[in-house]
């Protein structure tokens, strides 16, 4: 081996590796990966562009600032639920009862807060705790008796709908007072412009600094690393996108705190899934349960944590939905919420086969779903057509997932 090897990073020494550097290298990497079926977020971004263009042509109000602000607020509740679905899908399971659990959570919140007159935080805590207990029961049934999760959650779907109706009582609807902090939070509180821009700058700076520290740590360890200019370009692009979003939404009401809360949840889940041992074990269980078990991972604990997390997120989603509506009623959590949450996760690139997907998928997916729903509402089409269109989009997403999976297999990336 000659001296060139010494100067090459440890992970770049194999002569079969084609080195790609700079911006052009990064772009050709993405193209190559997509050809190999590792699509990542490409389908959802393309889908979003198509959907937005079509809806904008059909109704020029669609891409208006006011409508987009509304869209972000509408997506928060189901988005949080979809985040839980992402976790369950990652371990290769499913929870079909998130809609019912969110409806029950709305009802529990309303009853504790309005009928029982307890402080709001006690009501919120009670509703979330209820969700956690539901998930724990699912996990016990799954771990102890080996009942398939879709059957457990289908039973839950019906049972918790019943419980929701029972909790709400004969009136069937409880209004939350408009002056309560929760309703105010969901309907009227927006991030001031200066703070929104600060968020954008902080995000971009943080992306650069963490990337830079990581790169220099890798350089010290003798591994290949991203160049500083690449990191700078990446941060600049992020800053430009965020600043544009903040500016455009700021034309009307701006960014709602509820949406910020949702994005915050996405970031937390992203960290947990990608940077912690727990996250690794979630992907491992989704990829190969037996391998995970032999590697010493407590598989049952992973399942339990995921089911509890999913139901808790469903409960949080129910609270947000109730706050947004300022009421809990018999149709809370009903209708298409269940399927929208699952569709959002799948459209966002989470595989139904387990072991593949990201928290950001929930964010992108829910924006697609809400765009369709909002656009069709603007067109004054009734829910019959909305259901059909959402169904078709979900089917398309699953087809793309399956095709990508085949392509991954044939390109050795399965």
């Amino acid at each position: 081996m000659s001296t060139t090897v010494k100067n090459t990073a440890t992970d770049r020494q194999d002569e079969r590796l084609r080195s790609r550097e700079g911006l052009r290298g990064a772009i050709s990497d993405v193209v190559e990966r997509a050809r190999g079926g590792d699509l990542g977020v490409i389908p959802v971004v393309v889908g979003l562009i198509v959907i937005w263009s079509v809806l904008q042509i059909l109704n020029p109000v669609f891409l208006s600032s006011a409508n987009l602000v509304n869209l972000t607020l509408e997506s928060a509740a189901v988005g949080v639920i979809a985040l839980g679905i992402v976790c369950v899908l990652l371990v290769g399971q499913i929870d079909l009862s998130v809609g019912s659990v969110s409806g029950l959570s709305s009802a529990v919140l309303a009853v504790l807060f309005v009928s029982q007159g307890l402080p709001i935080w006690v009501a919120i805590l009670g509703a979330v705790l209820m969700g956690a207990v539901v998930g724990w029961v699912y996990a016990q049934l799954f771990n102890r008796f080996g009942v398939p999760s879709f059957v457990i959650s289908m039973a839950g779907l019906l049972a918790f709908l019943g419980l929701q109706l029972y909790v709400l009582g004969s009136k069937g609807s409880i209004n939350l007072p408009f002056d309560s902090g929760l309703v105010n939070f969901a309907q009227l509180s927006f991030v001031p412009d200066w703070l929104s821009y600060t968020f954008a700058v902080v995000a971009a700076v943080w992306l650069f600094v963490s990337g830079y520290l990581h790169a220099s740590e890798r350089r010290r360890a003798g591994l290949s690393s991203k160049s500083t200019s690449m990191l700078a370009i990446r941060s600049a692009v992020l800053l430009a996108v965020l600043a544009f979003v903040v500016w455009y939404l700021g034309q009307t009401r701006g960014i709602g705190w509820m949406f910020v809360f949702f994005v915050g949840m996405v970031l937390v889940m992203h960290y947990l899934l990608s940077r912690t041992k727990w996250g690794r074990s979630v992907y491992a269980v989704g990829g190969n349960v037996e391998a995970a078990r032999r590697a010493g991972i407590n598989v049952k604990a992973v399942y339990t944590s995921v089911f509890v997390l999913c139901s808790s997120f469903a409960a949080v989603g129910g609270i947000l939905a109730a706050a947004r509506l300022a009421a809990a009623n018999q149709s809370s959590g009903g209708g298409d919420i269940n399927l929208n949450a699952i569709a959002a996760a799948v459209i966002g690139g989470t595989s139904l086969f387990g072991g593949r997907g990201t928290a950001f998928g929930a964010l992108l997916g829910i924006i697609v779903i809400q765009s369709i729903s909002s656009g069709l509402t603007l067109l004054n089409l009734d829910s019959s057509i909305r259901f059909v269109v959402t169904g078709v989009v979900l089917l398309l997403a699953v087809v793309v997932d399956s095709i990508a999976r085949k392509s991954r297999t044939s390109h050795g990336r399965a």
């Binding site: 992970d11 590796l17 041992k277 010493g296 399965a414």
Partner: protein, 263 residues
């Protein structure tokens, strides 16, 4: 095996028996593995090879008998206990997660810094391990699904080395591999021996056994049926010990072929 070698043995089994219901899977098995020695365990289907591996890796406890590891009598009740002692097992199906990359698979269940994964240290250590095995893996950031069978076997073996084991058990390491990949894995086994590990290799393939093993232990119907030094024994003798007779299907076949050739 002579008694003066006893002290070198990193792992010794004495009188191991195991029954499943009415079936005696293993009866009075003795086995010795020294550091830097490759012991091949051969036997027909149902001879008890897998049961023996499972006893050593802590999946099944033996009914009776003594396991001496590092000159201490030990019990191996669970896979975790085997791991703690320093007995690593590479199963035939490798038990890798195809959706995770090489680093993630190597450190699965033993990640560094659980709450903020230390990717850099894990990647450096992965390269160290793979270099020690002279592994031909171009990148550790690709999903295991994209690796060949031999490369996957390498990853599985590298993972078992992570806990600095003293004994490593390979269950049919070449069963599903092509010619070149088999050679790669055999090289790997020799490198494990050079590092001073005791290697137990389960195999059906006489050529592989002759190629790398120092000692061949034959099991037949759950009993010891001879321990041979690989240099003093022919494949035919091993096969005779496996099948329990010099007159068996394999020798008859060869005899017929010889007749056919000479006539």
């Amino acid at each position: 095996m002579s008694s003066n070698q006893q002290s070198d043995n990193v792992l010794s089994l004495r009188g191991i028996s195991k029954t499943f219901g009415a079936v005696a899977a293993l009866t009075d098995i003795d086995l010795d593995v020294a550091a830097g020695q490759v012991v091949a365990i051969v036997g027909d289907n149902g001879a008890g090879k897998s049961t023996l591996v499972k006893i050593l890796s802590g999946v099944h406890p033996p009914d009776s008998g003594k396991i001496v590891f590092d000159s201490k009598t030990v019990e191996i009740p669970t896979p975790a206990a085997a791991h703690r002692l320093g007995i690593a097992t590479v199963y035939q199906d490798l038990a890798l997660c195809e959706n995770l990359n090489v680093i993630q698979n190597l450190f699965l269940g033993q990640e560094l810094r659980p709450l903020r994964l230390n990717d850099v240290a894990m990647e450096t250590r992965s390269w160290d391990l793979l270099r020690q095995l002279s592994a031909k893996i171009p990148s550790v950031r690709v999903p295991v699904a994209s690796l060949s069978g031999g490369q996957r076997q390498t990853v599985a073996i590298a993972r078992s080395l992570l806990g600095d084991p003293k004994v490593i058990i390979l269950d049919e390491p070449t069963a599903a591999l092509g010619v070149a990949q088999t050679a790669e894995v055999l090289n790997l086994v020799e490198r494990l021996r050079e590092r001073g590990l005791g290697v137990i290799m389960i195999s059906h393939n006489m050529a592989d056994v002759k190629a790398v093993a120092d000692t061949v232990a034959v099991l037949r119907l759950g009993r010891n049926n001879g321990v041979f030094d690989v240099n003093d024994v022919s494949s035919e003798d091993i096969i005779a010990a496996i099948t329990g007779a010099t007159d068996n299907a394999v020798t008859q076949r060869q005899a017929r072929r010889k007749e056919g050739l000479s006539s």
